[in-house]
Amino acid sequence: MIYFENVTKVYGGDVVALKDVNLGVEAGEFVFLVGASGSGKSTMMRLILKEMEPTRGAISVDGAKLSAIPRRYVPKHRRNIGCVFQDFKLLPNKTAAENVAYAMEVTGQKRRAIRTRVPQILELVGLGGKKGAYPGQLSGGEQQRVSIARAFVSQPPILIADEPTGNLDPDTSVGIMQLLHRINRIGTTVLVATHDREMVDVMRKRVVALEEGQVVRDMAKGGYTSEV
């Protein structure tokens, strides 16, 4: 589903973010990407979204070579990938329901479809009663649930989450991870970048560890560190 082949990314000519990374994620997998800040996790996420181009190497997502996607087809590419961010990235002037609906509106879906689908998905993430609330009126965990609902509303084949629990307390984090797990169980490929040690250890999923831009460990049902 997601393949990195000898990918190197250099920022501004001398900051090496990724060094010769090879990684394959198959459809339906749940993968944790772990590592300290600056180890290259976010860079991988941004490359998958084609926010920028790798310096060397090739990336393919859902069967398409990213370097071959012209700029005007980038929006279409992104609609295949649901995104969840550490800072939620909700539109502040839109209610929870409107934020979720926006992701359907950009794909040109019919209003009737939007009106039935949005309440369903908000119910699914446990926010059935807060459809009309603005992001400022919601707690961090609730905002992240809205953001997951938005990422998943069009049922993309891939969902990527960059530090989804980075701003949340441990109890709230468990709820968010359970939600991601449920989304994975219905067949979505889920890639989660995190340094939430406890969560990774509890979930027992595939773990890919990055250090200074290189993959140093890749194990099925792994823990945050190799000892576990």
């Binding site: 926010e51 539109l91 992701a103 040109g108």
Partner: protein, 295 residues
């Protein structure tokens, strides 16, 4: 853009205008200033132009009939001259009329003209030209009719310097208006850019959830259109009002100066102003958003 999206875009644009009311009002107000400058420039330009034109039309030459012309010959020449294409108006001044005019000029000292014989002054043609530049050609034709060099009084130098004067006045007016317009367009585009800069995070999020450039841009451009139209409408009303106030005042205070009311012209000016405001709003938003779409 699909037609079913239009409603969505309009709702988005109106909602954003309301939510960013202060910025919207600022952009619209700046547009008022910009369009107002253009409008006042255009109106001034057209008034000064019309005024200079009317002075230009007054520039004339006088052809005095030589003593040896018979009255039949005078009549014939008069008809010929009236047919010249370069001429807009010919006034025949008979000997008696010339003396009358002379007496009127010297009405303060009647004793000077007392007892002058009726034919002391020559009859003449007062000729008004369409274009001061044609005076050379007209002089040539008159000389062919038998007028001597001394019989023609022309204001060639005056005409030429007037042409130059009018040319410079219009050039300066045009340049000043253009410079002010340029400055105010830059001001408006800066205000629009600031208001969009404040919302660059929103644009980034829209792009990340898969919105195309056009999808993000359209509500912004519609907002720009509304702001531009609102500002231009206010400015156009102000210009139309200022113009009619000026025309009324001028008719009262300067009865001798011909002032064109130009009702048709002011309508054209208003249309130009509305189009300019809309264009500034749309273009300003379009180009400002474009800078933040590269996500």
């Amino acid at each position: 853009m699909r037609s079913s999206n239009l409603g969505f875009f309009l709702r988005e644009a109106l909602k954003n205008l309301r939510l960013n009311l202060l910025m919207s009002v600022t952009a619209a107000t700046t547009t008022v200033i910009c369009v107002l400058i253009l409008g006042l420039g255009l109106v001034t330009y057209s008034h000064v132009g019309a005024f200079l034109d009317s002075i230009g039309r007054d520039i004339s030459m006088t052809a005095y009939f030589p003593e040896d012309f018979s009255s039949e010959r005078v009549e014939e020449v008069r008809e010929n001259v009236e047919a010249y294409p370069e001429i807009s108006e010919v006034r025949y001044v008979s000997k008696e009329q010339a003396l009358e005019d002379f007496k009127e000029t010297l009405s303060e000292q009647p004793d000077i003209v007392e007892g002058l014989p009726g034919d002391v002054l020559p009859a003449s043609l007062e000729i008004t030209l369409n274009n001061p530049g044609d005076s050379g050609a007209v002089v040539q034709r008159l000389q062919d009719e038998g007028f001597g060099e001394d019989d023609l009084r022309r204001n060639e130098e005056l005409a030429e310097s007037f042409e130059t004067f009018a040319y410079w006045i219009m050039l300066i007016l045009g340049t000043v208006t253009a410079l002010f317009l340029l400055a105010s367009v830059l001001l408006v585009s800066n205000v629009i850019r600031l208001s969009i800069f404040a919302r660059r995070k929103e644009i980034e999020v829209m792009k990340l959830v898969g919105a195309s450039d056009g999808f993000v841009r359209t509500p912004f451009v519609l907002e720009g259109l509304v702001q531009g139209l609102a500002g231009a409408t206010l400015a156009a009303l102000l210009v139309a009002w200022a113009n009619s106030a000026f025309v009324d005042w001028a008719r009262e205070a300067l009865p001798l100066v011909p002032v064109a009311s130009g009702a048709g012209k002011i309508l054209l000016v208003v249309l130009i102003l509305l189009a300019t405001g809309i264009l500034i709003g749309i273009a300003g938003s379009y180009f400002s958003v474009r800078r933040f779409l590269k996500v």
